[in-house]
Amino acid sequence: MLTTRKRVLQGLDRWREAGWVTEAGAGEIRRELSAGHPLLNFSNTLAILGAVLIGFAAMTFVAANWSAIPRLVRVAMLVSALWAAYGGAGWLFSRGYTKFGEAAVLTGVGLFGANIMLIAQMFHLDGNPNDAVLVWACGAVLAGFAFRSAPSFVAALLLFGLWSAWETSQLNNVHWWFLPAWGLTAVGFAAIRATKSYYFSALALALWIVVSSFVLPGGPYHEIPIICGLIGLLLSAVVGHLGQEADEVEHLLRYFGAGLVFVGLMSWQLDDPSLQVLIALAVVTLVGLIGAMAWAGKVDDRKLMWLAYVGFATELLFLYFKTIGSLLSTSLFFLTAGVIVCGLAVLAMRLHKRSEQATKVEVAS
């Protein structure tokens, strides 16, 4: 798929010839697009990758438990490395190399974790590994706020997730403390306007909701993700009415709301309900997905369209395996599904034609 940048560059000459864009305007657009050069982005990505690798190097160095160096010296080495990483970050920030500075901050966060592991190893600490991860995550949050660094907040959210997964498996119940921790990183992302990380943040919350619906005593409660998803979709509609300003948030709520509803419906069907309930759920799921496709077409949202396609294929495959009694019944199932979908396609085309005519009338008048 072409990136927006490429598509604009390709269309620019055509638009200039057609007189939609002036010569000067085209030059300005080119200049702005080349500011975010792919090679520059690539070098930033490499810097972050390098930071992650250095973090792993420190951790495996700890793991080797090399007794040739006394352990106090090892602690001193890793703590000095931590200071050097943050110092380096300060130097890079002051020189204007923001992205490289962020990579250095991430290295510092990784070294903080390696230090915690080293101390646990030195004293044969086994008490509660989750507590160690929590301390590490808090260190990452501190670095995130101080240096206004999105990668640190991402690291913190990953660590909070690990901590919560650990606690959930021990408690065998919902781990509510994930919510304030998640909120802390969400505030961090909003504070530094790390728009790309909003999706990651939403994904983490959605995962927590799904896991919680399973581990809640007396569960699984498949209604929980469905209700949460519907609330998300409702909020998305409300935000949509606030005007174009709220675009990103509207999309976020739309994708994760729809995703949660789908996951809830799927897990319910996988939970061996009675035949009537299964049929009802399958119909609701398929109708919902077709509705999502129609909506995606109306608001021109390609991502939602693809999500709905994938969901539709998943549901059909699931039903195929569920009904696989005899080949004859499976064939009948596909025939029915095919006829329904074809009918819907015809309906969709008619609606499209009607709306096109309506627009033509509008333009003419």
Binding site: A63, G90, F112, H124, D126, A146, R148, Y198, A246
Partner: protein, 212 residues
């Protein structure tokens, strides 16, 4: 993009950014590095104090050898007191509950043995007794050899189940200890936290842990 979140957060985002801008990058570097170093330092301090001042308790072990992904080789210390008879336990502790186990030094032999376990926090004052904090990990049962009778037991974790060794040394130590009697010396503080202080082979203290 994201103007809704922008609008909501403008109120507090501006003071935060101007605050950070006013401080400047170098003081921030020092604050982050210093806070993280202090956290690490306090972790070390906690453990050193425990090892220095905690009461010494000797317990029997049964070792196994796994490997920790990030922390290298270690020996899992499965203690003889990791399973205690349910008859010694007061109340009905569930998995994940904290219990306080009273260990007593028998007049014959050096290994301490459990005499009671309760859910309420205990004060340790008797000289021949010590209270250790443990977490319940499940229930089990074991057979008494003489009577062939099965007794119900409670499985416990003391938070001192790992002994880290240099990469590759785990197997060597394990081989060494298969036919020898292995014991661990714990340091136990007033709140009942136990830490591994030394390893004993056939009643002789080897691998005494340096404090740093």
């Amino acid at each position: 993009m994201s103007n809704l979140i922008d609008e909501i957060s403008t109120g507090w985002r501006r003071p935060l950014h101007s605050f950070l801008d006013r401080i400047g990058i170098w003081p921030l570097v020092v604050v982050v590095a210093l806070v993280q170093t202090a956290v690490l330092g306090s972790m070390i301090w906690d453990r050193v104090t425990l090892l220095k001042t905690g009461r010494e308790v000797v317990v029997d072990v049964v070792p196994v050898d796994p490997r920790s992904l990030f922390r290298g080789d270690y020996v899992i210390l499965n203690y003889a007191i990791s399973q205690i008879d349910l008859n010694d336990v007061e109340g009905e502790p569930k998995r994940g509950d904290v219990v306080y186990v009273t260990l007593e030094k028998p007049s014959d032999g050096n290994a301490w043995a459990p005499v009671a376990a309760v859910k309420e926090k205990q004060v340790q004052n008797a000289k021949h007794q010590v209270v250790v904090r443990a977490t319940v990990t499940g229930r089990s049962s074991r057979q008494i050899e003489e009577t062939k009778e099965r007794v119900k037991t409670l499985r416990l974790k003391y938070g001192a189940e790992r002994y880290f060794v240099e990469e590759g040394k785990g197997k060597v130590i394990e081989k060494q200890i298969t036919d020898k009697k292995i014991q661990v010396v714990w340091a136990v503080n007033a709140s009942g936290t136990a830490a591994v202080k030394a390893l004993m082979v056939d009643g002789v203290r080897v691998y005494d842990e340096p404090l740093y």
